[in-house]
């Protein structure tokens, strides 16, 4: 039985239309107009127990809105979801105990008190038994390497330190379902790596189902085999990360080095980088074999490699196209 089932989930916000200018402000006093903004449209997917899935999309795509509906923070306008057998919109206490939503760059701990005091409050709120509390706190503290932070007031912690203790606090109830919204936002590389490795360990040890949004593709490639890509509230892609390049990466990268000096290679493809004896070419996926064969036949090739473009570029080019029709055609149901 899937951990998360989402069927036709939709969220529409009614927002006032505010036109500029003094007269329009006066007019809005007596006649206010509204428009509906569909933040999430007819979203459907399932997550199996223990799956770690990347949830990707540009800013404003509807990722966070979806996570908020799945964690019971927002009431959907249409459709429904089921998370470990609960309807999130019912907000049952047992459901809220078993699901955690962690948002990067957010503070849910008591600002002026030592971290340990916030953890004690969590223990009471989530009715965690003494033995479980002690063992989890000890284990997570070690995994996140935050032992020396527990006695410090939250306000004295750096952003990265605060994120680690936020994660520690959120996971004290050992939730089997975890929604991570930009957990590494604004953190330096080593801190990102530490949190990534903790999430991987937690998922492995607890068998937790995790849906992760991140603008850092390193998070996604390190943790997720499967990704769901959304754009303007609608799902564009749901499948293996490796398939994403095949579906959306229209170009492949050929790197060619020659002995001696490199002649003009612009006839083979778009030159993205070039030195005296080496060039990087972007070539349409379907023409790669032919172009590679021509390069080998026509130049004195020292080395030649063919690669998929970095996943960041694939994602960026997918969203940058802005072609809704193409996006709709590429949508995977």
């Amino acid at each position: 039985m899937p951990s998360v089932v989402v069927e036709g989930l939709t969220k529409t916000f009614k927002v006032p239309v505010r036109e500029e200018g003094f007269l329009n402000s006066l007019k809005s006093l007596v006649n206010r107009t509204y428009r509906n903004v569909e933040a999430v449209k007819d979203m459907s997917f399932t997550l199996e127990p223990g799956e770690v899935v990347g949830f990707l999309g540009p800013n404003g795509a509807g990722k966070t809105t979806t996570l908020k509906m799945l964690s019971g923070l927002l009431y959907p306008s249409a459709g429904h979801a089921q998370v470990i057998g609960f309807d999130p919109s019912e907000r049952e206490a047992e459901f809220l105990t078993k699901v955690a939503l962690i948002m990067g760059n957010r503070n849910s701990l008591m600002w002026d008190l030592p971290v340990a005091d916030s953890l004690d409050v969590r223990k009471a709120i989530y009715s965690i038994g003494d033995a479980d509390y002690r063992s989890r706190r000890e284990r997570f503290t070690e995994m996140l390497d935050v032992g020396d932070l527990l006695t410090k007031p939250v306000r004295n912690l750096s952003l990265g330190e605060r994120m680690k203790v936020e994660i520690l606090a959120a996971l004290l109830p050992a939730p089997p379902v975890l929604f991570l919204d930009e957990p590494t936002l604004g953190l330096d590389l080593s801190m990102q790596k530490r949190i990534r490795s903790f999430v991987a360990d937690y998922a492995g040890e607890e068998g937790a189902t995790i849906l992760l949004t991140s603008h850092y593709m390193a998070d996604v490639t390190a943790l997720c085999e499967r990704v769901i890509v959304i754009h303007r509230g609608a799902k564009l892609f749901d499948g293996d990360l490796s398939e994403l390049s095949d579906r959306f990466g229209a170009l492949k990268t050929i790197t060619v080095s020659v002995t001696g000096s490199l002649p003009d290679v612009s006839g083979y493809g778009a030159v993205t980088e070039r030195t005296a004896d080496k060039a990087v070419l972007a070539v349409p996926r379907g023409e790669v074999a032919g172009v590679a064969a021509r390069l080998l036949a026509e130049l004195d090739v020292l080395d030649l490699s063919i690669e998929d473009p970095p996943i960041e570029d694939v994602i960026e080019s997918t969203f940058a196209s802005g072609d809704d029709q193409a996006a709709a055609a590429a949508r995977v149901e």
Partner: protein, 266 residues
């Protein structure tokens, strides 16, 4: 209840710790709360000195009333107007909505815990006012005990009224204007501005059926010994009734309110 008790204890304890961390700021806050009654006290003492008793209130009665007022004020402090606006508008409430316990309990406990520090800081102010104005009343142990109960009950009523009003923030993120209107009503109908005995009879009648009087004047009158036993029992009954009415109101509105949450700012 078994599940809530540890939450009340731990939240109360954390609130004491928070207030104790900033004891200077807390003391200044307490002084700020007390400026209002001291102004009333000085004005009404002056009036009574010149005009004599007003509906049974002379210099001594006004002095006792407003000095006890200062303690009741510390007890019945609840959410500041605008706190709800901020809490919902900035989306900070989202953190609390993710927990399996209604944030009502955490806030009720947190504000109650803070009062332990505020009441401690009130003591030197009370000593100062007593030396300065020499109030004439000496409550018995029983009156003191009953006062303690009525003051906490007054806190719960006032907390509930403001919480219920705060829920309006889920429909409009500018609920502060409404809260200000209610605070103005409270000023007139609670005994906060003047003892209700000074007010016209019809205002006194209206105030009996509103929650405000039971959060301010009733505990004050209990402490300065102005009520009969029957009136005390009647007042306790009204306090219980208002706790139940406002509590049920919160339960009825809460479920619909959170469905309106747009989580903006989170």
């Amino acid at each position: 209840m078994n599940r809530l008790l540890p939450i009340y204890l731990v939240e109360g304890k954390a609130a004491v710790q928070r207030q104790a961390q900033y004891r200077g700021a807390a003391f200044i806050s307490v002084l700020g709360f007390l400026i209002e009654p001291i102004v009333y006290l000085i004005v009404w003492r002056t009036v009574a000195e010149q005009a004599g008793d007003i509906n049974g209130y002379g210099v001594d009665e006004f002095t006792s009333y407003y000095i006890v007022w200062t303690l009741v004020r510390v007890f019945n402090l609840a959410l500041a107007p605008g706190a709800w606006d901020w809490w919902v508008r900035t989306g900070r409430i989202a953190n609390d909505l993710l927990h399996p316990v209604n944030p009502y309990h955490r806030q009720l406990a947190g504000m109650a815990g803070a009062k332990v520090v505020w009441i401690t800081l009130w003591i030197p102010v009370a000593v100062f006012l007593t030396v300065l104005f020499r109030p004439q009343f000496s409550p018995s142990l029983l009156e003191g005990t009953v006062f303690f109960v009525t003051a906490w009950a007054g806190y719960v009523i006032r907390f509930n009224v403001l919480w219920l009003l705060g829920l309006v923030s889920f429909w409009t993120t500018r609920a502060q204007a409404l809260i200000e209107v209610i605070i103005a009503m409270e000023l007139l109908l609670s005994g906060r501005l003047v003892p209700m005995a000074i007010m016209p009879q019809w205002v006194q009648t209206v105030s009996t059926w509103m929650p405000f009087k039971w959060t301010f004047e009733f505990p004050i009158e209990v402490f300065i010994g102005q009520l009969t036993t029957a009136e005390i029992w009647q007042g306790l009954g009204m306090q219980l009734a208002w706790i139940a009415i406002t509590g049920l109101g919160i339960m009825a509105v809460w479920r619909n309110a959170i469905r309106k949450f747009t989580a903006v700012g989170t």
